[in-house]
């Protein structure tokens, strides 16, 4: 990547700095609430934590890619000395980095909460990590689709699918005996199911993340 690409990635960070800080703040407050003591507060806190990460991903992709196109700032970016491949690359890496910053902090926060909170079973940790991995994979799907999409309707559909997918993950992966049966264990169980689901998430992330570079970047018309 050349220096212009780095500058444009830095521009994305600068542009979204308040959104990033706000998401981290809301996510951390949610974790504090989750760790406050009662089961109800735990549920409320974790729901807010999950919503903060998921909503941030959608808003980020909308503002960075669809918003840039809709507000016609894309033409300004494309007037700079870069080709379309450079643009796709910088958007993939720049927006992903903007997502990774709060995601990493809030994932670490959730792990610390599980390990440090007295009375909370550490057995939930494998499922929590898989959920965080899924949030990252799910975000990469929104990001790639935003680069593909040329209509707001399509992006709206992708966001709906993104939100449904989180519920499906919780209701489909959560009941797998290898996770469900160990949620209340004092120590985490890293069975083969955990590694299989993690590998599927990693492979899906890699495929979805690479797709725009091989498909969108080959488009001959930018606009």
């Amino acid at each position: 990547m050349n220096s212009l690409t780095y500058k444009l990635i830095a521009k994305d960070f600068h542009q979204h700095r308040l959104l990033i800080a706000g998401t981290i703040a809301i996510g951390l407050i949610s974790l504090l609430v989750a760790g406050a003591g009662t089961l109800m507060l735990f549920n409320i806190g974790m729901l807010c934590w999950l919503t903060a990460i998921a909503a941030y991903g959608c808003v980020l992709a909308m503002l960075s890619i669809s918003g840039e196109r809709k507000e016609r700032a894309l033409l300004f970016v494309l007037s700079l000395p870069l080709g379309y491949r450079d643009y796709v690359r910088l958007k993939l890496f720049g927006v992903m980095l903007c997502f990774l910053a709060p995601w990493a902090i809030l994932t670490a926060g959730a792990v610390v909460l599980v390990l440090a909170k007295p009375g909370m079973a550490d057995g939930i940790l494998p499922f929590a990590i898989l959920l965080c991995g899924f949030l990252l994979t799910n975000f990469s799907m929104v990001l790639s689709c935003a680069l593909f999409a040329r209509s707001e309707g399509f992006i709206t559909l992708v966001i709906i699918v993104h939100n449904i997918a989180i519920s499906l993950f919780i209701f489909l992966v959560g009941p797998i005996p290898a996770f469900r049966d160990h949620l209340q264990d004092a120590s985490p169980t890293w069975g083969p199911e955990f590694w299989i689901v993690l590998a599927v998430e990693a492979a899906t992330l890699f495929v979805i993340f690479s797709l725009p570079y091989f498909v969108v970047a080959r488009r001959r018309d930018f606009i």
Partner: protein, 296 residues
């Protein structure tokens, strides 16, 4: 050895569902200002996007500053200042932030000139772009393009949202740019007054096809409207290079795009007046004639 042309388009074709740009060829030499004139939907923006590498031609060749487009657009765009009335800056940031951003990308950024332009255009570096009026926004985009001192300026309808005073300021600035003989401008507009004021060559485009391209002086010299009064029953002979003929009783108005003293001599004593035409009149006559001939 001749200098590399700043823009070369040869037999370019670009088809969309409801519009096709057909067989477009044009050249822009260093130091020239080309007025690229056409009605709405003529294909000006499509042509400019092909020049900028934002669209790829279906056929033909586009070279800008010697670079094949769109393949080498990153290289070409180092020396191009592109402004479009469709272009918007980042609403969340100030003009000063944009200036720093562009300055960090272009080594040729002229900070002194940028400061002078801020003053001349009555802009404020600390103001958020989202708070700029439409005219101020256009001037801000122009400032960012001009202060990088590009060899080629490509301007797509840059004056369309400007009031007369702002238009005057912008056109003056563009003429200043041309003091450097190696810089050139392609200036698209449907405002023929602006184009007539600053261009030294003009290309007319209509419905995706090139209508005419020539030096401005050449256009103004060869187009004439001839007013005649002919006795009743007199038939006018067939004349070459006649773009239009309007007969109202004894009064005949001829428009030609190849005026010469020989033509006047041929028409004889029936000629009452000969008028030079404005660029707007030439443009309109030219477009209608082209549509008629091409059967469009």
């Amino acid at each position: 050895m001749t200098a590399t042309k700043h823009i070369e388009m040869h037999a370019v074709r670009k088809a969309f569902r409801f519009f096709t740009l057909e067989d477009l060829s044009l050249d822009l030499a260093p130091g020239q200002i080309m007025g690229f004139v056409g009605p709405n939907g003529a294909g000006k923006s499509t042509s400019i996007r092909l020049m900028m590498g934002l669209l790829a031609p279906d056929a033909g060749e586009v070279r800008v500053l010697g670079h094949a487009m769109p393949e080498n657009q990153a290289l070409a765009k180092r020396d191009i200042g592109f402004v479009s009335d469709d272009m918007r800056l980042f609403g969340h940031a100030t003009l000063g932030w944009h200036m720093q951003f562009v300055a960090s990308i272009y080594p040729g950024w002229d900070a002194q000139y940028a400061k002078a332009l801020i003053k001349r255009f009555n802009l404020r570096a600390e103001q958020n772009v989202s708070g700029l009026s439409s005219g101020e926004h256009t001037k801000a985009v122009l400032l960012l393009a001009l202060a990088r001192r590009p060899r080629l300026l490509i301007l797509d309808e840059p004056t369309s949202g400007l009031d007369p005073v702002a238009r005057h300021e912008v056109l003056n600035e563009l003429m200043d740019v041309l003091r450097d003989d190696d810089r050139s401008i392609l200036f698209s507009s449907h405002n023929t007054v602006d184009v007539e004021r600053i261009s030294d060559c003009i290309t007319f485009i209509d419905r995706g096809r090139l209508v005419d391209s020539s030096d401005k002086e050449d256009f103004l010299e060869r187009w004439r409207r001839i007013y005649m009064q002919v006795p009743p029953g007199t038939a006018l002979p067939d004349l070459p290079h006649l773009v239009s003929r309007v007969v109202d009783g004894q009064f005949v108005t001829l428009t030609t795009d190849r005026f010469s003293p020989d033509l006047l001599a041929f028409l004889g004593a029936n000629v009452r007046e000969v008028h030079r035409m404005s660029l707007e009149e030439i443009f309109v006559a030219s477009v209608f004639h082209h549509r008629e001939v091409a059967g469009l």
